[in-house]
Subunit: 161 residues, 2 copies
């Protein structure tokens, strides 16, 4: 593995810590994969009129027995900021997919509730989406590779910010 | 490895091809990594007033000896659609980072040219960005893991659409 890298433009060599060719190739491949998987799964889901964030919100609510979740706790669970979740919910509320209810146990709190229309939309989209996740991701990896990618992904995602 | 999966909501079991728990865990970890790396590298670059697409465009132009590229060829190289690149260029043009020139060899063609301001912006951002790529991605992987992730990423990205 070489430890030098041609400068991508003149005059920038020497003082910076360039990536090695192997590091750069891995980073480029990683970014290509990221864009490809995101675009393809998004496109596969679009006939169901749902975005990936829509799907994530619906499935997270549906995972609960009562189909509801406090906004604060749900944002934590999804690893989204509360304001991002709140904006996303506003858009989905106008489409009748979720409701926003007062929280009986916390005057300033908000409870999110999956509506029957939201559940129906999720049900219609689920098999499409799972087939898409298989086709775009899972089917390209054997069990050992799935475990490897899970371990590396966990390590990278859990690195201190 | 179990091959069944509890249905995420009632009434949805049996007819669908659910992901196994291992597959689902790998997919979730993958998506967390994807979001984490994207958010962190974007945040690290923001003091330079550049987005990741800005940086990608500037560095792709700077890779060429004459700092210019035909729009069509550059879109292919970046694996972007031509309309996406064209919109991105319009935004960067108003900031003086790139120019759009007529193509002498093709009346309907467009040539993109890095401006001195664009090169200066890239130079200022490069060491920040490379340090960010190291900190958020490369430093968490040993050489063997880098090679593994590169192979898997290539395979997934190059799968037929």
């Amino acid at each position: 593995m070489s430890t030098t890298n041609p400068a991508p433009f003149p005059g920038q060599r020497g003082t910076r810590r360039w990536l090695t060719p192997d590091e750069e190739a891995a980073w480029r491949a990683f970014r290509r994969m990221l864009v490809a998987v995101t675009e393809r799964t998004t496109k596969d889901l679009s006939p169901a009129n749902l975005s990936m964030p829509d799907y994530d919100v619906l499935s997270t609510l549906a995972d609960r027995a009562d189909h509801r979740w406090g906004l604060r706790e749900m944002a934590e669970k999804m690893e989204w900021s509360r304001s991002r979740l709140s904006h996303q919910i506003s858009r989905m509320q106008t489409r009748g997919l979720v409701d926003r209810l007062p929280d009986d146990t916390d005057r300033r709190g908000v409870v999110l509730q999956l509506t029957p229309a939201g559940l129906a939309a999720l049900r219609e989209a689920t098999s499409t989406h799972l087939a898409s996740v298989r086709r775009r991701f899972v089917d390209h990896l054997n069990p050992e590779e799935l475990e490897t990618i899970r371990d590396l992904a966990d390590r990278i995602a859990e690195a201190p910010g």
